[in-house]
């Protein structure tokens, strides 16, 4: 009863005695992540500093003096900026229409716009190339009548690339803004609407509150666009990813290629850090059930306009490309031929994406758990490290992977499908970690502690409590990783073992001979291949809704 010992502040609050996943498991996951995603980057950056066996900045010096480099940077930034801006202009109003108004067919439109993600951007590029092919007579007409010396309607330029990529990436903005609108306490808006007009509430309350979501969505899209390889390559644009690839495959001078990517990496890393600050503890994707928001804005006579806007976007991004591809493929027999020519790639693409997505989700869960449970320096360092790979162009990452794994000892990985899986993990784990950690954030720690007080084995608590509770986030993470993986081309193109290829690579190769019927048919097959597992999982997710809101 006698008070003993002076009060002293220890650093013990950093030691959390009760965690479901032991630290060492998380550290294993972090080590695997570093091996797959960080090591290539280190190898590459280090490699660019070595010239003729000596440390030198000469790769960078030539870079500064090269005016072509500046044009390249300008082009890349312009492309990414255009895409980010376009995606905001489309994505944010759509999110608002879906979340805050009484737009008709809203529930169908929510699923329809997500279908966009199933059609990789290189495929829409194929579709648009194909479409303009059919309008050749129109170009001929312009050339003849107006005396222009080149085709007016062309897809081989920057605006076309911006257009195609915008129509692919706007759902990321919509998802983020929707999650912002959903998690926002609607009482705030209601309190505002008692003393101001709806327009004022929108401007003074809603917009400032969703600004972090919009801005960080825009940053994501900017980075996705600037690191994108497929579309610029198809449309013959002079941007970093394409030039790096060309440099590498022509001269095998990866040191110069890497050095030339560094200005771009500097930009993206800055943006990634900025984005983290913007988002803070906010959630990226909310999987909450869409309960009726009490203060919906009645669209009234604007209903038509809202519907036209949404339908236009969805038809441009989903319907038109699919119809184009279907027309392009023509008869059913084309599909038979296509299946026969690319049977192997279809199966391997599907399996590789599924395996990669599964591994990504497992690693991401352990890493996200570690980040969530480690307050202070340690957690935020790991957090920052896990977003780094995101900032590197796909082709740079590909070169790094080659440098890391192309050694006699690691041929069992490099010469096989293993390297593709590693490439996919490195490319897409950062985004998945964000999605899963926002789910973990929403779980009360008492749920795990109650488990720890009932059951000593962490494995059982992990499988029976943590995994089921974070299932919506895990499924969403898997779906995103699977979709992105099955459309990846920038890194896989570089590392794919000779003779083995994924479906996107096969399509890319065939495209050199023009957008043929077979290519269109293969695109349709690829879309179906991605759609099926996603559709099954999303319907599972809807059934899981029954627990939501009670977590």
């Amino acid at each position: 009863m006698v008070p003993t010992g002076p009060y002293r502040l220890g650093n013990c609050d950093k030691i959390k005695p009760m965690v479901v996943v032991p630290k060492y498991v998380s550290w294993i996951a972090i080590a695997l992540f570093a091996l797959a995603a960080l090591l290539p980057l280190i190898f590459m950056v280090a490699g660019s500093l070595v010239v003729d066996g000596r440390v030198s900045l000469s790769n960078y010096r030539t870079l500064l003096s090269d005016s072509g480099q500046r044009a390249l940077l300008f082009n890349s930034v312009l492309l990414a900026f255009g895409v980010a801006l376009g995606a905001c202009l489309i994505g944010a109003p759509l999110a608002f229409l879906l979340q805050r108004t009484d737009l008709v067919f809203k529930n169908y439109l929510r699923y329809a716009y997500l279908l966009t993600l199933l059609i990789p951007p290189y495929m829409s590029a194929v579709a648009w190339i194909h479409r303009l092919g059919r309008y050749q007579w129109l170009n001929q007409f312009f050339v003849n009548m107006l005396g222009k010396d080149e085709a007016v309607l062309s897809v081989y330029n920057l605006p076309a690339a911006i257009f195609v990529l915008t129509l692919y990436y706007f759902p990321f903005i919509t998802l983020m803004v929707e999650s912002g609108l959903q998690t926002m306490n609607h009482r705030l808006e209601e309190a505002g609407s008692l003393c101001a007009s709806p327009a004022t509430v929108l401007r003074r309350i809603t917009l400032p509150l969703i600004y972090p979501y919009l801005a960080s969505g825009a940053i994501f899209v900017f980075i996705f666009a600037i690191t994108e390889y497929g579309v610029p390559a198809l449309l013959g644009l002079n941007v970093y990813t394409v030039v790096i690839f060309a440099h590498f495959s022509a001269y095998y001078n990866e040191a110069a290629a890497t050095a030339s990517a560094m200005p771009l990496v500097a930009i993206t890393v800055t943006l990634v850090v900025l984005q983290r600050q913007l988002m803070g503890n906010r959630s990226y994707v909310t999987m909450e059930s869409h309960t009726a928001h009490p203060s919906r804005i009645r669209l009234g006579k604007w209903q038509g306009l809202g519907l036209t806007f949404s339908l236009c976007i969805i038809s441009l991004s989903v319907v038109v490309p699919i119809v184009d591809l279907l027309i392009g493929a023509g008869s059913l027999s084309t599909y038979q031929v296509a299946l026969k020519t690319a049977e192997r790639q279809i199966i391997s693409s599907f399996l590789l994406s599924a395996v990669a997505a599964t591994l990504i989700v497992i690693l991401a869960l352990f890493i996200a758990y570690f980040i969530e449970k480690s307050p202070g320096r340690g957690g935020s360092t790991i957090d920052l490290l896990t977003v780094l790979p995101f900032a590197f162009p796909a082709t740079v990452l590909g070169i790094g992977l080659i440098k890391t794994w192309n050694r006699p000892l690691t041929q069992f990985i490099y010469g096989t499908y293993g390297i593709i899986v590693i490439a996919l993990i490195a490319r897409f784990i950062p985004f998945t970690i964000r999605v899963i950690s926002s789910t973990l954030k929403s779980l009360s720690k008492n749920l795990e502690e109650a488990a720890g007080l009932s059951e000593p084995r962490w494995t059982r608590n992990f499988w029976k409590i943590l995994v089921p509770l974070s299932r919506p986030g895990l499924i969403a993470g898997w779906v995103i990783a699977f979709i992105l993986s099955s459309g990846e081309i920038g890194a896989t193109l570089l590392v794919a073992p000779p003779g083995e290829a994924t479906l996107p690579i096969r399509i890319h190769t065939l495209l050199h001979y023009g957008a043929s019927k077979i290519v269109c048919a293969l695109c349709v097959i690829a879309i179906i291949m991605t759609f099926l597992p996603v559709a099954i999982l999303v319907s599972c997710l809807r059934r899981l809704r029954k627990f939501e809101g009670y977590v």
């Binding site: 010992g5 502040l9 220890g10 609050d13 009760m18 009360s444 488990a451």
Partner: protein
Amino acid sequence: MIELKGISKGYRTIPVVENISFEVYRREFLSILGPSGSGKTTLLRLIAGLERPDSGEITIDGLTVSSPHTMMAPLQRRVGMIFQDLALWPHMTVVEHIEYGLRSKNISREAERRKVEETLRSVNLQEHGKRYPYELSGGEKQRLAIARTISLEPRILLLDEPLSSLDPLLKQAMQRLLCDLRETRDITCIYVTHDPREVMNSVGRMILLNKGKIERQGFYEDIRRNPASRFVEAFLMGTKKEGVEASPDRSET
């Protein structure tokens, strides 16, 4: 017997619990009272072994379970805790909640089933075995949380404001349930609340916390008669027992 010796705990640089020492005897029903933010939950978490103290030590039956250097795992201490937000698992049915902890105790399926049934009956939930937490009322949820904890036969039961969200009638019923449980099992209870009305019928000792320090301890009647400080007086204000005349020396403002 649980003994706390000079326990302190802070988050970052802010002390939350400061130099707390007290004892709890076997089968005692100890109440810990204090306003919101006074460190009650933190104190319970320290006893449960969910937090590590910055200084001081906790012993159970003479064995040191918590100190800045040693931590015995919560399960080995055989403590049960009922969380402030109940922490029911949304994806499990009532029966699954109870089975979950029993599964780790090498008993036969038959014994397990009987144990589940018996536990559910003791909290009067036997009809709702197949339900999920969101299909239960507030009182039923509370009883499920209690059932999940007592099925593990803890030596020490820590209750963190388990009744605060219930209406007065239900509250009384639950308190009776807790008393019954304590009498039929060999359990030491530490009951935390911010509402003095919940403990004024209690016969056990109580501890009054204020800003992480013990303000007063003893029996309710003694403390009420002789508050000894402004804080205690203000905190207990308006909690006089039904039928007892207001003593002239206590102002009712």
